[in-house]
């Protein structure tokens, strides 16, 4: 039965490799082939000279067959010799600088939003229909409705600029000062988490309520288990499966630079902010590189989620075979 899970994992990892390849082909087609006009001109930007364009065309091999172009692009992506023609800076270097900031934001926020979501979701479900549950429903709705650029700006203005409790944006390396690092990240973490807390706690609440009505929960009670054990081992264990799935997917997206707004509002200089800046200037090489970077995390975490799902719910392991 263990090997069933292992076989499932191997199958999923193989299909992940295929998806990653397909994504890279799509990125290549979308940026270099599908748009009309000369890709070298687009890459060089508005203020370009004929020699620059010629050099880019030469470098990327835009007059060669498509599969050679694709190969060149992949080589540039993975060997790190892709540069932005606007800033003359290595794209890989920029991503390498931004990634730890993005990871710090993502990991911290993911822990915070999951912890709060579980606590509030369980509490709401146990108090379903009472005043405290209704208050939490309203709060969750407010949390879901607040855009990060607004919430981030408000928090950083009032708690940062006005009250001076937190720094007004920016990032400090963990190795330079762990406390400063933490201090700079608290507001971004919460800004990013609020939406997820609101959403996840609602999902968990309704899953718990649904699970409590399941026949096997009645069986668990009939067995004479303590109420605590019934709730933890039978209700919560089964209702956590959907939000763990959500969690993996959202975490992958944020790791891949998806928290653009939060990173930008707090000027964290992470991958997401780098991406936003590149889009603002229509700077193609960084856009392509970050798109691949993000896609990579999303695909990987999709796979991780699928495997985790199969580990948590044994029924999935069989179905996986026909799906792939």
């Amino acid at each position: 039965m263990r090997s069933q899970l292992a076989r499932f994992a191997v199958r999923r990892v193989l299909s992940m490799v295929f998806v990653l390849f397909a994504v890279s082909v799509l990125v290549f087609l979308i940026f270099n082939v599908l748009p009309g006009g000369d890709p070298a001109v687009r890459m060089a930007g508005k203020a370009h000279t004929e020699t620059q364009v010629e050099a880019i065309r030469e470098e990327w091999g835009f007059d060669e067959p498509l599969y050679v172009q694709y190969g060149t692009m992949m080589k540039k992506l993975f060997t790190g010799d892709m540069i932005s023609y606007f800033t003359e800076v290595s794209v890989t270097e920029e991503i390498r600088k931004g990634a730890p900031r993005t990871f710090a934001l993502a990991i911290g926020a993911a822990i915070i939003w999951m912890a709060f979501a579980i606590a509030l979701g369980v509490y709401s479900a146990l108090r379903a229909g009472r005043i405290s549950d209704r208050v939490l429903t309203v709060l969750a709705l407010i949390g879901i409705s607040m855009p990060a650029f607004w919430l981030g700006a408000i928090l950083s203005y009032y708690l940062g600029y006005k009250a001076g409790i937190f720094p007004n944006g920016g990032y400090v390396e963990f190795l330079v000062s762990p406390t400063e690092w933490l201090w700079h990240l608290i507001l971004p973490w919460f800004t990013l988490s609020i939406l997820f807390i609101g959403f996840y706690s609602r999902v968990l609440r309704s899953d718990i309520l649904e699970t409590m009505g399941e026949d096997y929960v009645r069986t668990a009670r009939a067995k004479g288990l303590s109420e605590r054990r019934v709730m933890l081992k039978h209700v919560l264990r089964n209702s956590l499966i959907p939000i763990i799935t959500l969690w993996g997917l959202d975490f992958g997206a944020v790791l891949g630079g998806g928290a653009i707004l939060t990173e930008t509002v707090f000027n964290l200089q992470g991958v997401g902010q780098y991406f936003a800046d590149a889009i603002g200037q229509l700077d193609l090489p960084p856009i392509m590189a970050v798109t691949m970077f993000g896609a990579f995390f999303i695909v990987i975490f999709n796979t991780v989620v699928d495997i985790a799902y199969a580990a948590l719910d044994p029924r999935i392991r069989l179905e996986g075979g026909s799906k792939a």
Partner: protein
């Protein structure tokens, strides 16, 4: 069949009333039910859906407790009063001295745990034994209920077993602490007939070999005939007739029981053009009819039926045969024959 008084009474239920507050009003699901179960006996509680038979059983297990339920009456089981018991007292009884199996074996086991682990969990909730010992016991139990390769199946997930196997696993789990009472709530309804017959056979064997008393809740008269010692017929929250299997089957006293038995298709009779049925619908338990609950559907109703008949013995020759109908025994005999002919 045992003589009254000799065999100790295992379960005694009196005036059990269960009602639920719903958005539409108060549903009186169980309305003054009394039951008595002797040791080693199989009592079948028969009735159609919504007659309150499952609620009665769940209430004895304490599984209907909740903010919307009001429960009154008494249910004595092995020296414990179940209705007023604290949650902790009740927890110690259920799964231990008294266990229950349910209608749908497909959904009654937790899909994410192995079958053996679910049995072990129950054993360890009541006894201080090691995981290894409990697992050993689980294998024995699976063997005892007729699951082949119990040493392998103990590690199977519920979805890897067939419906019949799952119900056997449920029975194994229910037996894990050698209870004196098993409540089986429509245990065969979701299964096909051959599996149904095997399970009923298994229950009968357990009843004989393990001194296990069984309350079998069902709407399947055929199942009742195979296994029950005594029968209680429920209609709209009340017991309308109660007696030994032979008494209820061969000398039914209540018009509802006539209808129930009359609606059976029988292999030893010519096939009817139309399946016989009781006209009308069971009443809503939100607003049950005044007096006898069966009155609106009863072809024999008369003005006395506006008040509630007691559950009484009306036949001098059968002191343990109770019914809830005002008709005199002579009238019943006369009319039943007429009703039977259709």
């Amino acid at each position: 069949m045992s003589e009254a008084g000799r065999v100790p009474t295992l379960l005694e239920v009196h005036d059990l009333e269960v009602s639920f507050n719903t958005e539409d009003g108060v549903v009186r699901a169980v309305d003054g039910v009394g039951l008595e179960l002797k040791s080693d006996e199989v009592l079948a509680v028969v009735g159609e859906s919504g007659s309150g038979k499952s609620v009665t059983a769940l209430t004895m297990m304490g599984l209907t407790r909740g903010p919307n339920a009001s429960i009154s009456g008494t249910a004595h089981f092995e020296g414990t009063e179940l209705i007023g018991a604290s949650d902790e007292e009740l927890r110690r009884v259920r799964g231990n001295r008294m266990s229950m199996i349910f209608q749908d074996p497909m959904s009654s086991l937790n899909p994410v745990y192995r079958v053996g682990a679910q049995i072990v969990e129950q054993i360890r909730a009541h006894r201080d034994v090691s995981a290894t010992e409990a697992r050993q016991r689980a294998v024995e139990l699976l063997d005892a209920v007729g699951i082949p390769d119990p040493g392998i199946r103990v590690d199977a997930y519920p979805h890897e077993l067939s419906g019949g196997m799952r119900q056997r696993a449920m029975i194994a789990m229910a037996l894990s602490l050698d209870p004196s009472l098993l409540i089986a709530d429509e245990p065969t309804t979701a299964l096909d007939v051959t599996i149904q017959a095997q399970l009923i056979e298994l229950l009968r064997k357990l009843n004989e070999e393990r001194d296990l008393s069984i309350v079998l809740i069902t709407h399947d008269i055929g199942v009742v005939a195979e296994i029950a010692d005594r029968v209680a017929v429920m209609y709209a929250g009340r017991i309308v007739e109660q007696g030994t299997l032979d008494e209820v089957f061969y000398d039914p006293q209540h018009p509802y029981t006539w209808g129930l038995l009359g609606s059976l298709t029988r292999i030893d009779r010519p096939r009817p053009d139309r399946l016989p049925q009781i006209p009308g619908m069971p009443p809503s338990l939100l607003e049950p009819p005044v007096g006898c609950h069966f009155r609106p559907r009863c072809p024999h109703a008369f003005d006395r039926c506006q008040s509630v008949p007691d559950l009484n013995t009306r036949l001098p020759e059968a002191p343990a045969h109770f019914d809830r109908c005002f008709l005199s025994p002579e009238q019943k005999r006369e009319r039943r024959e007429v009703g039977d002919g259709t």
